[in-house]
């Protein structure tokens, strides 16, 4: 072998070489849990199948369950049957550490296993720790990693920490978690994950706005009458009743997913679409969202809870009849709210947010509803079917963009009605869309934090959400009930209809 710098790879020119993870160990805390089997392992298998993992990759699972290395490998193989030779090769190097997160011996053993993996698989001291445990354990694990000298990278290596949501259950607990994490990790090592940001269509909001000359000029108060953001689920709480009782829709959906999508929708054009550019602008946008006073919470926020009803042809139980839910529960399964944004671009444009369980269908979308034309030169009787223009970004399930505008109905009269022009991802791109977790796991291993949430974003989300929780605790916005399979309580309709607007039917 000769010494010195090797030549560049001459064979790579002209080939679209996929991004590949560098040599790395992914350490999963909560390795025997549901998230690991259901999401993390299948996503890693997909990344492996696309040749985006090198041979110098391994997973070390850490959990309380009594498993051997071989048991964990079987668990990984069973989680993704028929995943192909790349996954089989990767799984053959997986290791497992059994132990309590509060026990120093667990982390002594982890250090020893990591050194063995570095030696056996050539992972070079690079680590990504993934906290897939119950949230109560996040701080314990983060601190223990620091105390055992596992949080700081050796020279030329990297160590990162991926933290699942929820990031605290109020501003105080979020700040306490941040303090605990920062005793061991610098902020640039911390990757707070919200899988919504890994969805292609959420990222497409940026493409729509900043890759097209026709949309961004109208994306402001001068043309936009109001914004509607809907995150609707048709399912109930299922087996998550116990967890949901401690969370509710505001913490479970609004504090994270809704605020992230809102940030991307409202942000100013970043200088560059990179981690700092995007996240700086998101923080600025969220900072401009006005905090509601207790009185405003009463008039601008509706909280609801589903009763029994019919969804997708099936009769379903009410929330209070669900497993793990108190029969007199006051936890909200639905939130509708009107927010205001105090900045040059959005001043005076109400932002309507609605999220809930047991709504008629599963749909997530952002709709920009535009002002009506100043003067309609047609007989009003002939333009009865004409709505204001809108642009709708459908995040799921039928990903795409719809533009609604007026067109003349063919015929002798000048009748005008609203028509929609659909762009469907499914009709234009047949490429396999990577699952959100696939994208985000690879980003964490590659070291691209663009789609992860920074501490100041979490802080801004809680700044908006916490006063609502506090007002509710003081009795503002009584719990309204709604029949399963409807779009929420009547109060939600009144919230928007009192201003002459109405909810879209997604």
């Amino acid at each position: 072998m000769t010494t010195g710098e090797p030549p560049p790879n001459p064979f790579a020119i002209g080939l679209e070489m996929a991004r590949r993870a560098p040599p790395v160990v992914l350490v999963v805390f909560g390795a025997s849990g549901d998230l690991t089997s259901r999401k993390l392992l299948p996503s890693l298998a997909a990344v492996a199948r696309r040749q985006q993992l090198t041979d110098s990759f391994a997973v070390v699972g850490v959990a309380r369950s009594e498993l051997s290395d071989e048991d964990f490998r079987k668990l990984a193989a069973d989680a993704v049957p028929d995943a192909g030779p790349e996954w089989e090769r990767a799984v053959s190097g997986f290791r497992y550490v059994q132990g309590e997160y509060g026990e120093p011996a667990t982390f002594d053993r982890l250090r020893q296993v990591l050194e063995e993996v570095d030696h056996d698989r050539g992972t070079q001291g690079n680590r990504v720790y993934y906290l897939a445990t119950v949230p109560d354990q996040f701080a314990t694990v983060a601190c223990a990693l620091g105390e055992h000298g596992l949080s700081r990278p050796r020279k030329g290596c990297f160590v990162r920490l991926v933290v699942e949501k929820p990031y605290g259950r109020d501003p105080q607990s979020a700040a306490a978690l941040d303090r605990a994490v920062h005793t061991s990790f610098d902020e640039d090592q911390v990757y707070r994950i919200d899988h919504y940001l890994g969805k292609e269509t959420v990222q497409n909001v940026l493409a729509l706005r900043f890759a097209n000359a026709i949309f961004e000029p109208v994306w402001n108060r001068r043309y936009v009458d109001h914004v509607q953001l809907t995150v609707a689920e048709s399912i109930g709480v299922g087996h998550r009743g116990g967890f949901y009782e401690t969370a509710g829709a505001l913490r479970d959906i609004v504090q994270n997913h809704v605020m992230q999508v809102l940030g991307l929708t409202l942000l100013e054009p970043p200088a560059t679409v990179d981690a700092q550019g995007i996240r700086d602008e998101k923080v600025k946008a969220l900072r401009a969202v006005e905090v509601l006073s207790p009185d405003e919470v009463s008039t601008s926020v509706v909280r609801g809870q589903y009763d029994r009803g019919w969804v997708e042809g099936q009769e379903v139980a009410g929330y209070r009849q669900e497993e793990g839910v108190a029969p007199d529960s006051h936890t909200e399964t639905f939130v509708a709210m009107r927010l205001a944004v105090d900045n040059w671009r959005w001043a005076g444009v109400p932002i309507y947010v609605r999220t809930g369980k047991r709504l008629p269908k599963r749909v997530t979308e952002v709709a920009m509803a535009f002002h009506r034309v100043p003067h309609l030169p047609f007989a009003s009787s002939l333009a009865r079917d004409l709505d204001a223009n809108s642009i709708v970004v459908r995040v799921q399930p039928d990903e795409g963009i719809t533009m609604c505008f007026g067109a003349k109905v063919p015929g002798p009269e000048f009748r005008v009605r609203t028509v929609s022009m659909d762009f469907s991802y499914g009709a234009s791109f047949m490429e396999e869309t990577p699952d959100a977790y696939e994208r985000l796991l690879l980003d964490a291993m590659v070291g691209d934090p663009t789609l992860f949430i920074r501490a100041d974003e979490v802080e801004q989300s809680w700044r908006i959400v916490a006063p609502i929780l506090e007002a509710w605790e003081e009795g503002a916005a009584p719990l309204a009930r709604y029949e399963s399979g409807t779009w929420g309580p009547r109060e939600a309709n009144r919230l928007i209809e009192s201003t002459g607007r109405r909810w879209r039917r997604p």
Binding site: P6, N9, P10, F11, M17, Q51, S424, A427, M430
Partner: protein
């Protein structure tokens, strides 16, 4: 009607205006309930009825992956002045993907066959990009249809590569965005070698490679030989080509090391350095339809293809 065909219209000795009107009626018919595929116009031009038939087989179902409209033109410049047309509205059979597209089959004879652009242009769906697939002979500049179209070559080439066909292809790349299906077919071997030499430690071998052997179907072997010559800066005589109809094999020889990329089970290519480091990639057994779908997704002429063409003309066959 054949499976997937929603409706069909056919006419002989027809005016082109009638074909255009019929295509539009089908595309925007009142009974339309599915999403219209709207990505690209694909034009297939051939002078051979057998080639046109093979094109029909290859594009069957392709609409579900790419085009908004497929136009197959069988040109017969020496035949009588007439146009026969068949239009089929087809629907994908993929679950929960109700996509429709049109396949327009034209038999063009006489003067119109010598001015095919005048036949094709009015039938293109507006504002969509155009790809023109020349399955057989490499077209001359005057034989190109649809201004600015992405040219796709290969799939049914009548002869082995020689100096003139390589030069004609190279000339086309200077005029249009060109994608060659035989070149795309070599991608798994190229990708496997690229992945094999991705680690810097492996790349230290490259300066010591003095010769190569490529065995495979003639166009594939020729392009791979040209690619290796170009990428490694090898002397033209140091690459040995072997035309065989069976599997494709690439071997690179350094003083003490043998690098080999060859077919592996399950449609994969395995590349290895001696018996140590190995990588595998998929896609080795893609048929014409899959290669065509891949070609339609290409954004511009691959610079490595241009380099390979130039070098292939110098490689001894």
């Amino acid at each position: 009607m054949a499976p997937g065909v929603v409706c069909r219209w056919s006419a002989e000795n027809v005016d082109l205006g009638e074909v255009i009107a019929q295509a539009e009626r089908m595309r925007s018919g009142e009974s339309r309930t599915a999403t219209r595929a709207a990505v690209v116009n694909l034009v297939v031009v051939t002078a051979e009825p057998e080639t046109a038939q093979r094109a029909r087989s290859a594009v069957g179902g392709l609409g579900a992956h790419h085009p908004g409209r497929i136009i197959i033109v069988l040109a017969d410049p020496d035949g009588p002045d007439r146009i026969d047309a068949t239009i089929e509205l087809q629907e994908t059979d993929l679950p929960e993907r109700h996509l429709w597209w049109e396949v327009i089959d034209l038999r063009v004879g006489g003067g119109a066959a010598r001015h095919l652009s005048s036949v094709v242009e009015p039938l293109l769906v507006h504002d969509l990009p155009v790809a023109a697939w020349h399955m057989g002979e490499i077209p001359s500049a005057s034989g190109l249809v649809a201004t600015g179209a992405h040219v796709i070559l290969g799939g049914d080439r009548p002869s082995d590569p020689d100096q003139s066909s390589l030069e004609a292809t190279a000339a086309l790349t200077r005029l249009r965005h060109v994608t060659d299906l035989e070149w795309l077919a070599t991608e798994p071997w190229r990708r496997a070698l690229a992945l094999l030499f991705d680690p810097p430690s492996a790349r230290r071998i490259l300066p010591r490679i003095a010769g190569a052997r490529v065995a495979g179907p003639p166009w594939r072997a020729c392009l791979l030989g040209g690619w290796l010559t170009d990428r490694l800066g090898l002397a033209p005589g140091s690459v040995q080509l072997e035309a065989v109809s069976s599997e494709t094999i690439v071997e690179l020889a350094a003083d003490d090391v043998l690098v080999r990329a060859a077919s592996a089970p399950l449609g994969r290519v395995e590349a290895r350095i001696d018996d140590e480091r190995a990588v595998t990639v998929g896609g080795a057994e893609r048929g014409t339809a899959a290669l065509l779908a891949a070609a339609l997704g290409r954004g511009g002429t691959d610079p490595a293809f241009v380099g390979a063409l130039g070098a292939a003309a110098r490689v001894e066959r």
